[in-house]
């Protein structure tokens, strides 16, 4: 932004009670976790934990509470704890969510809160799945800028409109919430899946990229975009609010208009 802003007032009247505050509510929940410990039991099973949690707590805090205070063997991935690293996509109350972005206060406490691993990827332990097939699909769509022309000495120019075309899909954190919510992916693990298509979209519509045709070719496959049945589970699951199905539709249209 290059417009100058007017200086804000040095003193203002604050609304009373501004910035929230007050007592943080406390409540009891039952956390029902789908456990799978291949080294001790052959099959997965449900385990309930009764916990007292606070209004600002997230599902991740509840899982930590179990792991740290009750059962250290409960295993799940996590890192950033604020929805940016994509480690902790899991099925919470039947839908794919990031545990660190799902506040307990927004869930129904009268029933147990169910937590289980995402579907469609090989289960390794508790909430941990093997992510390799997911990343393999990602790698196959050439997720990198390919530019055939001469390297310019300074930056390549790109207008704000050109940038806007693919900005939505640059937000992807590769959490796999979308792909593992896709009914087609559950039954046909060969499907590239929405995440791979989203990341292809990010480059196909980047004005600086020259390999869009190759990516369209890759996705014009029996396991490519045509496999999508527009069930919208992916768009609903994406913690970054990416319009996944829209991106897939745009890729389909790009393939069509290229072939016709």
């Amino acid at each position: 932004m290059s417009t100058e802003l007017p200086e804000p007032a040095s003193k203002i009247e604050l609304k009373p009670g501004v910035g929230g505050g007050g007592e943080i509510p406390q409540f009891n929940i039952t956390l029902r976790v789908r456990r799978y410990l291949p080294e001790t039991t052959a099959d997965a099973y449900w385990e309930d934990f009764e916990l007292t949690m606070y209004g600002t707590d997230r599902v991740l805090d509840a899982l930590h509470k179990v792991k740290w205070d009750i059962d250290g063997s409960l295993s799940f991935r996590r890192s950033c704890a604020h929805g940016i690293c994509g480690s902790d996509a899991m099925r919470i109350n039947g839908r794919n969510r990031l545990a660190c972005k799902t506040l307990l206060k927004d869930l129904d406490h009268s029933k147990p809160i169910t937590v289980e691993a995402i579907k469609g990827l090989p289960l390794e332990k508790d909430l941990i799945v093997d992510m390799e097939p997911f990343f393999q699909s990602y790698r196959e769509i050439m997720p990198f800028l390919v530019n055939k022309g001469h390297e310019p000495s300074a930056e390549r120019y790109q207008s704000a409109e050109e940038h806007a075309k693919f900005e939505d899909t640059t937000k992807c954190i590769l959490c796999a919430a979308c792909t593992s919510s896709c009914p087609v992916f559950w039954t046909d693990g060969q499907y590239f899946g929405p995440a791979a298509i989203v990341n292809a979209h990010r480059f196909i519509f980047d004005s600086r990229d020259d390999a869009g045709d190759m990516r369209l070719e890759i996705l014009n496959d029996k396991e490519g975009v045509w496999r999508c049945r527009t069930t919208f589970n992916c768009s609903e699951a994406c913690p970054r609010g990416i319009q996944v199905t829209k991106a897939i539709a745009e890729v389909k249209q790009a393939i069509l208009s290229r072939s016709i």
């Binding site: 007032a9 003193k11 929230g20 063997s73 604020h82 940016i84 990198f144 930056e155 790109q158």
Partner: protein
């Protein structure tokens, strides 16, 4: 145990690690070991921007940038390094653009730039637009872009491999003046495969540490759960000193109570801080650049407002970040993610209500000492051949006692690249150093004893107490009393740690075990930070001693170097030896730091 051989092994796949991998992967056989999938690294959490004097939107040059960096770091910056960083910044940004990073653009289509704390035109005259950014997810875009290019160049990753030990051998050697000393050489690293619980030894000619920070020493932090100071801890245990560990940056605007960061870019776009009286208090603390003063100054001002009773909320323990005077469309375009954080985690609507914020532990200025070629030093000037470090884990000392916002994303790119180039170059001209006998012995013993321990101590309570005491006593304000108190607690916790046991005894994905090991690193780092803070009897940058409120150039215009040494004691702390290292000056003489 399995043994792998590579020319270059990189520990960590954050921004620094992957930037290095892109260089070294194309020159030498390279493996990247990382305890997280690369795109999970905490570089992805960085929001605001990466600065370079591109002068795309207004007049700027890298010399001003150098000056700001040095002044921001309260003159404890090694000026040769700062100069290199500011100069190479421009190429670093252009490199990223060419790799595909989708920067926000100016109306002409050039990379857009915005203001950030401490970045000024012409040596402090006014705030300058220097930070290149991609909305408020610059770090995310850097991390993704670097990973994409690693995929492009077929870099080999070992994901979820925890490096737990560094293999160093010592040789007798002589200095130029004839004195004898022990020269360390690197042979490789030992790592633990999370999926199988197997140990893997990686023999390498060059090893680059790029394992990030140690923010989890504190309770309120913007750092990830996984930033537990592993790299620093491993180096320290192996006799490598740690430099300037007393300097830890507290970022002013963490979501109150949670620590989740709201970028300084918010203030760069015009947001301001207010206290309970609605006053824009930064006008009193930094009359020229106000809310865009460097972080140490703003964080202290906030803590001071709260101390003097002008905090907000029921406990009067935070202040407010006010964006309400800004256009919602502008905020939505430039700061979409952080406004969502405020909504999701605090339930505050930033368009209409100010957001509760309080300083949050953010960045370790100190770390493994290196020279400008990222070679690790075993003392003030002896290089360990083949060992490199870059990123937050390292201390080239471009940040001195306080890092300027956007200088870290820059640091990881500039010095990450340098590390990759230097490590590959070294490896191509060097032989493998023979592995020591039983290279994995230390690690095996450590793991076995934890798995078989019958102790009753658990990891979580020890870690919680550690974080609580660090937040209470080693935060923005410190003094001898608070620091010594903290040390007593840390010693006690270290004692309890010896009888820590883990509940998960399995081999697959045993994160219980790894949290226990990480706690060991946290305890070490807390001790080192506190010891160094006790040692530095002055106030400078991020380190503010209430019992020594002034900067003392006479005695402390030097880096601290903290060694593990069983035979020594510093400030009453057994096992730690404190030395100093001179600061490199080129052309800027220390002045009083005013904004």
């Amino acid at each position: 145990m399995q043994v792998h051989k590579y020319d270059v092994v990189i520990v960590g796949a954050g921004g620094a690690g992957m930037r290095a991998a892109i260089e070294s992967g194309q020159r030498a056989r390279t493996a990247v070991l990382t305890k997280l999938y690369p795109t999970r690294s905490h570089t992805g959490a960085a929001q605001g921007g990466m600065c370079a004097a591109l002068a795309n939107v207004e007049e700027d040059n890298w010399e001003w940038h150098t000056f700001d960096t040095i002044k921001g770091g309260d003159y404890l910056v090694d000026q040769d390094a700062a100069e290199i960083m500011a100069k190479e910044a421009i190429d670093a940004v252009l490199d990223l653009e060419k790799m595909g990073l989708p920067f926000n653009r100016t109306p002409e289509g050039k990379i857009d730039q915005r203001r950030f704390g401490g970045h000024t035109r012409d040596h402090g005259k006014a705030a300058v637009r220097r930070a290149c950014y991609a909305a408020d997810r610059t770090g995310h875009m850097i991390l993704q872009t670097l990973y994409q290019n690693c995929v492009k160049h077929n870099v080999e990753f070992y994901n979820e491999y925890y490096v737990l030990d560094l293999l160093l051998v010592e040789e007798d050697a002589f200095r130029e003046d004839g004195t004898a000393y022990k020269q360390k050489r690197v042979a490789g690293v030992v790592s633990y495969d999370l999926a199988t619980g197997e140990l893997h030894v990686f023999q390498a000619k060059s090893v680059i540490f790029a394992s990030g920070g140690a923010g989890k020493v504190f309770k309120t932090t913007s750092n990830a759960h996984t930033l537990t100071g592993d790299g620093m801890g491993i180096a320290f245990r192996n006799g490598i000193p740690l430099e300037d560990m007393e300097f830890f940056q507290f970022h002013p605007t963490g979501l109150a109570g949670l620590g989740i960061l709201l970028t300084e870019g918010a203030r760069g776009e015009g947001a301001i801080l207010r206290n309970s009286e609605g006053e824009r208090f930064m006008e009193r603390y930094a009359p020229t650049i106000k809310d865009l003063a460097p972080r140490d100054i703003v964080a202290r001002a906030m803590a001071n407002e709260v101390r003097e009773g002008r905090g907000c909320g029921p406990n009067k323990d935070y202040v407010l970040l006010d964006l309400t005077h800004l256009e919602p469309a502008h905020i939505e375009a430039k700061l979409p993610d952080i406004t969502e954080f405020a909504r999701t985690y605090l339930g505050v609507e930033p368009f209409t209500d100010p957001v509760p914020v309080y300083p949050t532990a953010h960045y370790a200025m100190g770390g493994i000492p290196t020279n400008i070629d990222t070679e690790v030093l075993q003392d003030n000037d002896t290089v360990i051949p083949g060992l490199f470090a870059a990123g937050e884990v390292a201390c080239v000392s471009v940040h001195g006692s306080n890092r300027l916002g956007t200088n870290s994303l820059l640091d990881i790119n500039v010095f990450g690249k340098r590390a990759g180039v230097s490590a590959a170059k070294y490896a191509l001209g060097a032989e493998f150093v023979d592995l020591p006998e039983d290279p994995e012995k230390f690690t095996t013993t450590q793991i076995e004893s934890m798995l078989s321990s019958t102790g009753t101590e658990r990891v979580a309570p020890i870690r919680k107490q550690l974080q609580d005491i660090m937040d209470a006593n080693v935060q923005v304000f410190r003094d001898k009393k608070s620091l010594t108190e903290a040390l007593v607690v840390i010693e006690e916790l270290r004692e309890r740690y010896k009888s820590v046991s883990v509940q998960d005894k399995g081999k697959r994905f045993n994160l219980d075990l790894l949290e226990a090991i990480e706690l060991g690193f946290l305890l070490d780092m807390a001790e080192v930070m506190t010891a160094a803070a006790l040692y530095r009897k002055e106030s400078r940058g991020g380190h503010y001693r209430e019992d020594y409120p002034d900067r003392d150039d006479e005695n402390f215009m030097k880096h601290s170097m903290c060694y593990k040494d069983e035979a020594a004691a510093t400030e009453g702390i057994e096992g730690i030896r404190m030395e100093t290292k001179p600061v490199v000056f080129t052309r800027y003489q220390p002045m009083e730091r005013k904004y």
